[in-house]
Every structure is written in structure tokens, then in C-alpha cells.
Symmetry: none
Amino acid sequence: MARIVMVEDDPLMREELIDILQKEGFETVAITDFHDIALQIATLAPDLVILDINLPEQSGFEICKSLKSKGIGPILVLTSRDKLQDELHGLYLGADDYLTKPCNRDRLLARIQNLLRRYEGQPSLIDGGSFSLDPNTFTLYKGSQSLVLSANEGGILLALVQNRPEIVSKRALSERLWGTDQYIDENALQVNLTRLRKTLRQLNLENQIETIRGQGYRLRG
Amino acid sequence: MARIVMVEDDPLMREELIDILQKEGFETVAITDFHDIALQIATLAPDLVILDINLPEQSGFEICKSLKSKGIGPILVLTSRDKLQDELHGLYLGADDYLTKPCNRDRLLARIQNLLRRYEGQPSLIDGGSFSLDPNTFTLYKGSQSLVLSANEGGILLALVQNRPEIVSKRALSERLWGTDQYIDENALQVNLTRLRKTLRQLNLENQIETIRGQGYRLRG
DNA sequence: ATTTTCCCTTACACCATTTGTAAGTGTTTT
DNA sequence: AAAACACTTACAAATGGTGTAAGGGAAAAT
């Protein structure tokens, strides 16, 4: 079941939330130490974060921004601040939904399900800057366009995406594709890189792969 | 700029919406013929749909459901129905957000931006019930698993998903794969269906395709 | 109960795609 | 100027996709 992390400093409200969510079958984790909240949440790997705004050490707005920059979501803000400007600010910072207290139990649950549904039906794609890559199938996505890379092309791109923005040596790429127990001429790597660059051009992804002479390759961006 | 399709039968409200959105730089398309709305919207390929609920021929709820089954989204419901049960129903049917009229202009725009931001960068997958399908590459997604179907297997599954839960005749499937100007033995369709069923089993998707003897096939769920 | 019809499955051969090798070219470094 | 490194294109072999053929099973018709 989905893991929901709650950032709420009012003890009574927190217990009530925990009760509602656990009755619904969710795994709940409540933040009680209000220092370095974004870091704590990152290590918890939540499926959804319920975030209050008025907190002791940091504003929920700051936390929201920090979570977003770490790619953690979805984030549902649940706060007593019911002014329109606060809602606009929260949404602007990247909150996925903004609800005000007091909130009807069924409404809260419906909004939570809504966010979970939207995120969990999505494939686990790895962000490559200007594109996304499915590590299972080597399917490359850019906007509404997509294409499937061949095994070799996909293996190379995956290695570069996973190590972005670090340089990946030719030796590491060769081992990634062919292992160490069979001899493949080094030129095969060059050829496959040329094929990959050509394929990337089909999605207008020019100059994504940068050559560092004598060291290896890296993904730009 | 993003294309927003509006389904609103009140002319004054519709004009006001168009004005607000165009001033913001959006491309707007307003539905004025209220028959077969889901089909019209599908051909428009919108980036977002603003949907009223009280409409002349069909309920916005039905349209929402139909759009969702065709993988069209996001959907922002904007309605005068402000009862909690209506909101819950809309979210249950798959609406991505539910706002009631009258709605503050800045709030509406913020919610629209919120949805657009969340969907751009995501591949356009069609919902198949227990799985999702990328119509470009025939990549099949189920949870964190994915695999790429062959052209024939993908073409068959796509047809079934797009017509779900309707029956698709063998003739329609054959025409989808081979057109009408070349003769392919009917058994080729049977063979490819067997191959597709075997591939689906690799993702534990048993019994997804139902045979209706003498009529055709349909997707379960 | 038997026959006919429809659907499914497996194997085979042909076609399309992927990929390592070979050879040539261009650029950068020594 | 020569050497080293990187890139590109073409070719042939290997691999995967797919229609056809043949056989079998189940449901419907007689």
C-alpha cells in the first residue's frame, strides 16, 4: 500500500490524519522532528506527502520548493491558510494540490487517491534532461514523441543517463554492453555511438552526447 | 503553446473563458456541437480539457469517463455543481481537478498551469485497464514492468484498447493490420492473436483478450 | 451422435532488422 | 609531418518478426 508522509506540527491534527489514513490502509509516516524536513522525507521515499504550511522551523512553502527540486512528489498541501494568494503561491511552487482546513474526510481521501492514481500509473522513466528513458525497454520519450532504441543504443544511452553529468569511459561502456569475457573490437563502440547519435537526431535531440577526447563520453544538459 | 479544449454550453461563460485563456497565450478550441463530444475532443488532440457537467446531450460525467478510457487528459472539471458528492464523483471518474463556478481567474489559471506542468514530460499512454500502452512504440506498461510489442501484436492491442469495451471484428482487425488492398489469410490474425496472448502472459496479463465466437474480440476489464 | 464450423497452436521458411568487422576519412595531438 | 584518436559508411552474418501450412480442440449445427 502507498506510503504517505505527513508534515503537521499540531499533535491532535496529526493523530487524526494518521487515524483516517491508516483506516484506509495507507502506510503512514509522521514527521515529528522539524529540522531538515526535506532531507528526512527524501530518505523515506514516500508515494505522497501531506504538507502543512505553518511549521516551527521552516515554512511549508520552502519545503515544497525543496521537495520539487529533488523530484519528490506528489505533494498535497493541507493548511489553515485559506487566502487565494497562499493557494496560488503553493501551486506556483509546485504543489500538486492545495486544500484548506478543515477538510472533509471523504474529499481529502478522494484528492489523495486522485494524485496517487495519476503518479502510479506512470512508468518509471529516468530523466535525461531533454528527454526521458525507460530503462526496461530503452523506449525514448520527448514530448509526445517516442521511439524504441536497439539494445546497444539503449545500453549506451542508459549508462550515460545514469551517470549524468559524469564522464563515462569507453572501457566502462564496452563492459556494459559486452562484458569482459568476450573480445569485441573497440570500433564497435564507435559505430554504435554513431548509430545512437543518428537515432537521437530523429527526435531533434542533437548534440546530446559529448566526446571528451581520450576520456570518454557524457550526456550534456 | 498548449491547446485547451472547452466544453461549456453557456455562450457568455464560454466567451469569457476563451478571452481569459487567449490573453494568457493558450490556443483555445470551443466545442459548440454537443453530440459525440468525446470523439470530437479525441480528434482535436488537446493538451487539456475544461469540462462542464450540465450539458445538453450528455452529462459531463459520462464524457469524463469516456475521455479517460481513451487516454485523453488532463481533464479539469469546471461546474456550478458545488456539492461534495458531485466533486467526489468527478474525481472518482478520473477528473484531474474539480473546480466550482464562479472561479477566480488567477486560481483557474494556476490550476491549469499545475495540470499542464504535470502532464508535459509524460508520455501519452492509453489506459488499458490493467496496463497502459504507448501508441507510438507499442510499449506495454504494467506497474514497474514494461516490454515492447512487435508491430502486429501492438496494432491488435491498440485497436482493442481504443475500442474498449466494444467488440472489434476480425475484419476490422485485419484491415487495421494489412489494409484492404492485399490478401492475407485469415489465419494470420489468429496466429498473431496467439502470439499477443503469449506476450501478455509475460507481464501476468492473462485473459485480457476475450473471444466472442463469430463476432470478434474485445479487451476485458 | 455425428458432422461442420470456428478458433487456437506449433513449426517452418522467408524477410526485415540489428550488429560486428573492415576500410576509409577527418580532426587533434605530438 | 606523423601519429593517435574519433567518426562514418558499407557489407555480411546473426537474430527477430511474420505469413503460411498443417493439425487439433471446442462449440454449433444437423
